[in-house]
């Protein structure tokens, strides 16, 4: 009985771990299917382009950095 209960607990634990790991590597379509081909506005604002590192949050329209 002890082996059975431990087996259930471990199965759920491995399953949860697998779920966490799998969801960590999950990518949104907008991340996976993004190219660097188009850039419409000032790159410093980077709100117009959903780049490969976009986290889903649109950054504040801060002052464009002079370069």
């Amino acid at each position: 009985m002890k082996a059975f209960i431990i087996a259930l607990v471990v199965a759920v634990a491995i399953g949860t771990l697998a779920a966490m790991l799998l969801n960590q590597q999950q990518r949104f379509a907008y991340q996976a299917f993004t190219t660097s081909g188009t850039r419409v506005s000032d790159p410093a604002g980077h709100s117009n382009l959903v780049g490969p590192h976009w986290n889903g949050v649109t950054p504040d329209p801060e002052k464009p950095s002079k370069s």
């Binding site: 799998l22 969801n23 990518r27 907008y30 991340q31 996976a32 299917f33």
Partner: protein, 198 residues
């Protein structure tokens, strides 16, 4: 009721991708999901042709048949729609779809890839017409406004036709007779088990 279909006249399509852009803008489709796309065949070779493709709203749709949760339904206009509340994102519809229409918001593992998204023929979803929730899930509902899908409506060369199957087949037939050639209604045999006789 009409039997709504799409027809892409490949001899007119110039691969401008305006249909793709129109669709994305009309429904606020996120980046990376293309309900409509333009595929170029024989690219760069003589006889190159482009075909604009989306969900063809098949007769006896394979996606609806294979869905393990029966989330698809066909409207009175023969438009194939689905409910994102019931969809479990299993991906079987993508395997069965002859046109590669179904897409998912996440592309990694299949466990949590989210609800399927596809062309709605600008007809929204099961929620009540013009509701915010319908717009957020499925995009705008032009059909309920008495308008046809935007992709076809704004096609610059009128290559993409949308509307009642008989009517658009008639338009295409007239074109073919007038100009003397036509490469056929792409995908019709697979989607509707019939083609436009020329």
């Amino acid at each position: 009721m009409a039997r709504m279909k799409f027809l892409c006249d490949a001899d007119r399509c110039i691969e401008c991708n305006a249909c793709v852009t129109a669709c994305k803008n009309e429904h606020e489709v996120p980046w990376g999901i293309n309900r409509r796309r333009v595929v170029t065949l024989n690219d760069g070779k003589p006889g190159e042709r482009s075909v604009s493709m989306a969900c063809m709203h098949c007769t006896d749709a394979p996606c609806a048949a294979v869905c393990p949760v029966n989330c698809f339904y066909t409207t009175a206009d023969a438009v194939v729609l689905h409910s994102k509340d019931i969809c479990i994102g299993c991906g079987y519809c993508f395997y069965a779809c002859p046109f590669g229409a179904p897409q998912y918001p996440k592309v990694g593992n299949f466990g949590s890839r989210g609800k399927m998204d596809k062309c709605t023929y600008c007809a929204g979803g099961p929620e009540s017409d013009f509701s915010t929730i319908e717009y957020e899930k499925y995009g705008s509902n032009r059909l309920a406004e008495g308008k046809l899908p935007l992709c076809a409506e704004m096609c610059s060369t009128k290559a993409l036709l949308a509307g009642d199957g008989e009517m658009i087949a008639q338009i295409y037939k007239q074109r073919v007779i007038k100009r003397g050639y036509g490469s056929g209604a792409w995908g019709w045999k697979t989607a509707y088990r019939e083609t436009v006789a020329i």
